[in-house]
Structure formats: C-alpha cells, structure tokens
Symmetry: C2
Subunit: 356 residues, 2 copies
C-alpha cells in the first residue's frame, strides 16, 4: 500500500492508495475509527460496496444517506437536507462522515462535515479518477447555488483518503479519460519525468492496467499533497493547480455544464493556455504539440468541438469568480514541467488564444 502524507496547517492525514483496499477490513477498521459512522453515497455505489464496509464496521452505529448521481445533488438545499438527517440520526461531535463516490459526493459530504456542529470528521473514499487525483485531497469542499457553481463551501480537510483503483473498473471510459486530464496537469506544471512516464504508459492506463493506474494516482496525489501543504488556502502556489482551468471554466459555463465533462474542458483549457504562453513567447510550440499528442492518446479533446464563439468564451472568463476586479488572470506555462502564478492578460491576447 502506498501512503502519502498531506501535512496542511489545519490537519495532517494520509492518502492510502492500493488495489483491493476496499476489500481490506484492517485498513477500513483503522480509517473508520469512530463508533458512529454516517455514509453519504449514491444508491448503485452503496449497493456495490456496502457488504465490505458493513463487514469492516460491524457493531458500529452506521447511518446511510443516498443521493442521486449527478451535479444536481451537489446543492445547498441537498446539503441542508443531509444536515437535517445527521441531526435526526443524533449524530454527535464524535460522528464520522464517510464520503463514498466521486467529486459530487466528496464536495457535498465535505461541506456537510465542515458545518455540522461547526465541523466533524470525514473520510474520503473517491471512486472516480478525477476525485482520486484532485477533489478528494486538499480540503476544498463546495456546493452549488442556483446562482452559480461552487459558490458556497469551506476549507475542511478529511481525516484520511482511501483510494482503491479497482473501483475504476466500473467507471465509464469517458470519465476515466476526464480524470486523466488532471493527471496530465500535474506533469505539465511540475514534473517533466512524470510527463515522459505518461507518454510511455498512456495506453496501459486507458486499458486499466492496475499497476500503472496506481502509480499515476500516487504520483498525482504526491504533487497535490506538496502544493496544498505549502498553501492550504490558495493564497499563492495552490493557484498553479488552476492551470488550464480559466479557459476550461469558460467552456463549461458557456455550454451550460452539459457540453463537456470537467476534465475534458480542462484538457482543452490546457492546450489554450499553452497557446497563450506561446503567444507570450514563454513556451515552445514543440511542448504544446507533445501535450496535444498525450491528451489525444488519453482520449481527450484538444479543442472545442461544439462551435462555441470565442467572444462569448472571453465574456465567460470575465465572469469567473476567481477573476478579481475585472481582470482575467491565467497561469502561464513555461513548457513541460514549468508554470507560473496567475498574471492578468489582455483581452485581445485571450481572444487570440481561443482562436488559434
């Protein structure tokens, strides 16, 4: 089992990565160290993993709340209803929430845990690649309002994160690919050797080679752990993790969150950010071409295929919550393995990056 320590100022915890981990009672018993557990999951997932979790937690008080799959569950009103269920189950400050699912479950359960009685413990058991390498680590929790996504949330670190790559065997291929975009992101901004490794293993990864997946996940989590330990509340370095995201968010919101999965939008966004950096003379075209090649082998899009208008996408960038005082700030890329903190970009330059 690979165990990666995340040492943030507010809490230190371990991320465990191992094939078959969810069938390992001793790991589960150690991680779920509370007499009162409150599981939040989706019906299908719970059906699949309930036997293992119930066996490992026999004798403990176990409450389960299931929400429908999909972004509509990641909502302030749903959070309120789960908080009510916690109260009805007489959850106490000792209760531990177990988030079993993808990013929707993790973000929702994390927010609920952050604000029930001003904060109770929670454990992340991510079951999608995106959640494994990104949202389950680092303590960003959030729910949506009718007015916009992720507008409400808290920084609240889990007690531990349990990652079993076996759960990816039932993940739709398109979602696996979307998760790969964030894996590629870590290599892009931090780690040229990891980028080469991904180039060598792209097909094994997409064929669910467990040992390749385990390594890709662990290396990604290590990068994330290092960055969030240095900057838990995204005052500086953590912003590097938004590489490709300013462009990506614009694609997501302009297509009303129905055109692209988050990872797909990030893949296209990274290529746009590479173009922008090329226009600024900061990164060579050859690295952008390598990036495009890798993304394509991971079955990811590298440009918008919905015909969204560059002018509209530019407008979306100005509406992004991360963009203060009417300026659009982007991470610049310095070729494979290098990136710099956000700088304000001229609108014409952004438009050129969309159009290239």
């Amino acid at each position: 089992m690979l165990s990666i320590r995340v040492a943030t100022p507010s809490r230190q915890y371990l991320v465990h990565v191992a094939e078959g981990l969810l069938q390992n009672p001793s790991v589960l018993e150690t991680a779920l160290a509370s007499d009162e557990l409150f599981v939040i999951s989706h019906p299908e997932l719970w059906q699949r993993y309930a036997p293992a979790l119930q066996a490992a937690t026999g004798g403990k008080k176990l409450s389960v709340e299931l929400v429908p799959p999909g972004e509509t569950s990641k909502d302030f009103t749903v959070a309120g209803s789960l908080l009510g269920k916690l109260a009805q189950a007489r959850a106490s400050r000792q209760t531990m929430v177990v988030a079993l699912g993808g990013g929707v479950i993790g973000d929702l359960s994390g927010f609920v845990s952050a604000c029930y009685m001003r904060g109770i413990r929670f454990v992340q058991i991510p079951t999608t690649l995106l959640a494994m390498v990104d949202s389950s680590v680092g303590g960003k929790t959030a729910v949506n309002l009718p007015e916009g996504k992720n507008l409400v949330g808290a920084f609240w670190q889990p007690q531990s994160v349990l990652i079993d790559p076996h759960t990816l065997r039932t993940l739709p291929l398109r979602e696996l690919a979307a998760g790969m975009a964030e894996v590629v992101k870590y290599a892009c901004i931090n780690d040229p050797a990891f980028f080469s490794w991904l180039e060598q293993h792209a097909e094994s990864l997409m064929a669910l080679d467990m040992s390749a997946l385990t390594e890709a996940i662990a290396r990604s989590v290590s990068h994330k752990a290092r960055i969030v330990a240095a900057d838990e509340h995204e005052l500086a370095e953590r912003a590097l993790l938004n590489f490709g995201h300013t462009f990506g968010h614009a694609l997501e919101s302009e297509s009303a969150y129905r055109g692209y999965l988050h990872g797909e939008a990030v893949a296209i966004g990274m290529v746009r950010a590479a173009h922008l950096s090329e226009l600024l003379g900061l990164s060579p075209a050859s690295d952008r071409i390598r990036l495009e090649g890798l993304l394509q082998r991971l079955q990811l899009p590298i440009k918008d295929h919905l015909g969204l208008a560059p002018e509209r996408l530019l407008e979306r960038m100005y509406g992004d919550k991360k963009n203060a005082a009417g300026k659009v700030r982007c991470i610049t890329w310095h070729g494979i393995g290098g990136a710099q903190l956000p700088a304000a970009m001229a609108p014409q330059l952004l438009l050129d990056a969309w159009r290239r």
Copy 2:
C-alpha cells in the same frame, strides 16, 4: 477609544469600544476597508444607522439585505437566501460583509461570510449587550435547523468588531439585563475584582451610565479575547465560557425557547451550577448568595418561575449537543473568580441541584 486585540491562530483582529463610535467616520472608514460592502441587518436598525454608515462609506458599492428581527431569521434556509443575494450582487472574494445587529444577525452573517466562496471577510457591529460581550467576539457562527438550534456553523473570525455602547439606549431593559448575565459570568469564572466592581456599579449599569457600560463591556471582551486566543476551537479552556449554560440550555429548550431570554436562562443556570458546586463541597454558600444578590440587582431571575419539572430539565441536559456519550458534563465553580473544566455529573446530583 478602547481597543482590545483578539489573537487567535486563524486571525488577529481588534475590538473597538467607544461611545459614539458609529458616528465616527474615520473609525468606520478604517474598519470597512473594502470597495464592496454587503450589510446584513434588521429594517429598524438599518433605518437608524444607515445615514452614518452611508456617509462613512460614500463612493463604495453598498448592498443591503434586511431580515426580520427574531430567532426565525437565524436559519439555514435564510442563510441560503442571503448567499444567493451575495451572488446576485456579484459579491467577490474582496467583498466585506457588515453584520449590524444582535446575536442573530452576527451568527447568521458570520456563517454566510464563512461559506460564501469558502470565506470572505466580515465586520461585526453588535447592537445588543449580549452580542457585544459574547457572540460578536471569538468567531463562533451558527444557524438553526428545524431539528435544533446552532446545529450548523463554522469557526470564522471577524476582521474587526465595532462596539458603540450608545446603541444600548434603544435596547429593551429586559435585553440589557440578559446581556448582564454574560458579564457576570466572566467575573464569576475569572475575576473577583471585576465581580466586586459589578457589585459597586450594578445600578449605574442598568441606568445606562455610559462610562460604566463601556468599562463593563471592555473588561468582558478582554476576558473573552484571552480565552479564545488560548483555545479558538473549544478543545479545552474555552469550555469555561459555558459556565451556567448546561443548566441554562435545559431551561431554554424545555420552555421551547419562549420562556426565557438566553441571558436569563444563563443567570438561573449559574445559580444552579453554584448549588451543584456547593453540593460537591467546592464553593461556599456565601459566594452563591453574593451571586444571587448581584443578579437580582441586575434585574435577572435566579430561579425558574415557569414551574418546569426538574426531571424534564434533567432529560433536556442529556439531549444537549455538548454532552457526549450519554454523560452530562458541567463546569464546576470554585467560588467567585474560579471555575474548572467540565466533569461528568451523576444524574441524582443534577436533580438535587435543580431542586434546591
């Protein structure tokens, strides 16, 4: 102007106490240091203080949301609606929330500030004595669920707290007295000299002598500041602030929050806690008698006058969210100026304390 520094691990800030502070443009300008302000208040209060705040913040973007007075506004659904209003006003990470009102406004606005975009700045302008000496300082924010009070919240410190004792001139006398209960609490657990000072100034305080009020508030805030700096998240010493509250909460919940104001329940609760400590041989009857005398001069009740049954009150104590694992834990009193962290109490002893 008296300025008290609150140095918690998560944030350092100042509590300013001065007569006429809300008519002082330079103090307001310094404290409200943001170009985007979002005021949360009650209609009547806003009408009274809008001219001063608007004059001091001329030229800034100022949004105002008013909620009805009373505990029903301190609610998760109301918080959701305010979060939506923030989004509609295009509030950003630079926006500063201004909480103008009593504990309901402070707790609600604090929670909203804690979770909008994972936390934006807020300033407390408490207008009741209870909020000035207790809830506005220390960063405990909360809202109610249908299932119970204060079940949802966050630790989120304000940027500053502005206290103008002049606002107390329009406070109903019963609410002034209720705030005095928390003032007496600080003296009880920490400060025998302050207790004697209160005995000397009880009538001046209730007659709204501004210089006496200013001193009582500043001394109370200093005690709270010291305790929350040492223990922001109530892992140990901060629990001392619950002196009288275990008994008080039982009175409040058994009377469905309609029989007593919070401070009145705390006053009765402190006397019950004194009885309990007497039964344990920890505090002398003479100190309890001094406490009763002071509370009565401050127009506070010293025993239940609603005829609530001791057995029912005991049951309420076991339902309190602070009581883990079926044990009721109370702060013990060691006479004026001394208190000790919670210890588990036998049910019969608690019943005896209610019955005395």
